[in-house]
Symmetry: C2
Subunit: 220 residues, 2 copies
Amino acid sequence: MTLSEENYLKSIYHLEKKYTRGVSTNALAEDMETKASSVTDMIKKLSEKELVNYKKYQGVKLSEKGNSIAVQIIRKHRLWEYFLVEKLDFNWDEVHEIAEQLEHIKSDELIAKLDKFLDYPKRDPHGDPIPDAQGNFANLEKKILAEFDEGEQGICVGVKDSSAAFLQYLDRNKIKLGKSISILEKEQFDGSMILKMNNKELTISKVAANNIYLKPIGVE
Amino acid sequence: MTLSEENYLKSIYHLEKKYTRGVSTNALAEDMETKASSVTDMIKKLSEKELVNYKKYQGVKLSEKGNSIAVQIIRKHRLWEYFLVEKLDFNWDEVHEIAEQLEHIKSDELIAKLDKFLDYPKRDPHGDPIPDAQGNFANLEKKILAEFDEGEQGICVGVKDSSAAFLQYLDRNKIKLGKSISILEKEQFDGSMILKMNNKELTISKVAANNIYLKPIGVE
DNA sequence: TTTTATTTTTAGACAAAACTAAAAATTTGT
DNA sequence: ACAAATTTTTAGTTTTGTCTAAAAATAAAA
């Protein structure tokens, strides 16, 4: 597995969620920031290795084998992200680039021990699930804050928008992973919400509420 | 800096300690497990980038710039080794290969935060000094256990031989980094030593004593 | 000091992964 | 259905880091 092959598998994995059918050469080229012709070349290579199923002009799909490799790379990526945020004190939006590098380190033992050290986390800092060593995702319920009703409660498990601007907004309002939040009021007019967190009241806009994930309390 | 360039710089750095003069093409080829002709090619490239000083048939030396890059790679390598042993619970002899990969991760912020997380360690698990962010090595005294005299004391800071066999020997005898050891007796006949560690007595052979580093107590 | 042996460098090729330009297949619009 | 537009593939280069084989320089030996 070269670095480039791994990145293609990962990209195909993510694009498959979006496009249902086979992933098109162009979509892949855009995601990989490369040219369609380069994609065709690589797809042929992956196809020979039986990591993807490919017929000319029909797009690609991951094979069983390709899928499980992709999942393992995602596992590594998300474990490292968790490490960077929880142990090294990075902010949520600073970790992606570094995790893109760390995910390619080759050592099963390393990942097993890292997982243990982190106490087997189930979600990364953005709220996405971390597959286990066998590639199984825990089925983790999570809902956009804006979809909660008055009186409900949840724990902050991630964000949708991970731009620096949004992150800074969260920091200013002391919204962090793991924080327990209850919905006091929902304003019909503009969709803004009054929350209770740390025993204080806090008002947030609908735009913000649409970018925060909570895990409904009592679940998991 | 490509991965390959970084590895060459590191190799040159280490070989310079051994050979005083410029590092020969063949020595480098052997260390890098490649052919002399490949080495010549790479040396030219590094020379154009002014990372090494090179004259045909005269071997190479690191330039100022090349040296400081090499030192930073070594810093990363040793910090990661420390992390693997101290936090992830790897054994001393299992970490080198993984650290060889991790040392190439590119992010100054990452290394700064890792250093802080580890509480600014001064030595890696083999007792080698970890340069600081400016590339300075603390001057750390360390002596081979076999050279200590009766009545002296020290703290275990590393090993010379890091083979699995030796490591297992150390484990069986509960000799670990950071352990305080006093020399009770030195046998003239065969150089074996009777030590006190954890309030227990322990006899070790000269061969073993020649492969353990202690920091004399009261220093640093 | 020549000859021999060793080391180092050049020259020419190759594989991986990318690119450009152009051809082929597919899809869309009328 | 057929021409136009788009997507995908092919063909031919390029770059990086390696290789082999052979030439050139240096070092060692007789």
